[in-house]
Symmetry: C2
Subunit: 122 residues, 2 copies
DNA sequence: TGTCTATGTTGACGCTCATCGATACAGGTG
DNA sequence: CACCTGTATCGATGAGCGTCAACATAGACA
């Protein structure tokens, strides 16, 4: 967990088996398998609370945020924890415990891969 | 017709200078309202069947596709129609009837706005 | 007019998910 | 050790969603 990737499209084993994968959506139709994997990433950002949590982490200084810094999104603490777990499972966030607190940070390669897919052809 | 106009989607007229609803997610935290509006777009791509349908339209020659061209995604015809409607409601696709067939095409500005949000801060 | 094809809508069913309170776990402090 | 704070997990519940069969609608053509 110590090497930073440039912007690879194919990366062996990020997070837990989540691999950013696919060409721009305008290039060719996705296969069923590709769609299954990729939809999970978009789905992770498809909830308002999760999207806010993600932007709170992404925009926090130092590129990381303690849970205590971002918990004020209008839902209970267990729900915040639940959503952070979902974002982690989707490969969008990573977490690390330092003492009492747990810090989350964005996984740049996965986010970059998603952005790549939304690139308009032409 | 559903009249729940709580969150109006993007107008089809935004074609020129890519009027993004929101800044890159790394720039600042989203407000609750921004998150609500934006999550709906990501949610639309958060289903494997919808993502395939979208990529089928996006990668089809001429930038548009008749429903008959993209219906082979492993679900029934009503389900295809249902998902295309969802994508349309999210502002990602537009449709037009020409004679017997209905053609769908990608709304580039909305897709571009989504890509904008996923830009990694440099 | 009637019929055929293409697409959208309706209603129902089962499953997933967001949410919460209660509880468990981890680490710091006294 | 006990106690407190920060975070994760568990179990339940209600809402939402994907799917289908059946039906409806729109246009083309005879």
């Amino acid at each position: 967990m110590s090497n930073i990737k440039a912007l690879p499209l194919l990366e062996p084993e990020v997070a837990e088996g989540v691999v950013p994968c696919c060409p721009p959506l305008t290039e060719r139709p996705l296969t069923a398998e590709e769609a299954e994997r990729t939809a999970a990433m978009f789905k992770a950002l498809g909830d308002p609370v999760r999207l806010r949590l993600f932007s709170l982490v992404a925009s926090h200084e130092g590129g990381e945020a303690c849970v205590c810094d971002i918990s004020d999104v209008g839902v209970s603490q267990p729900t915040v924890s639940h959503h952070l777990k979902k974002l982690k499972e989707a490969g969008l966030l990573t977490s690390e415990r330092r003492g009492t607190w747990v810090y989350y940070r964005v996984e740049p390669s996965v986010v970059a891969a998603m952005g790549q897919m939304l690139k308009i052809a032409g």
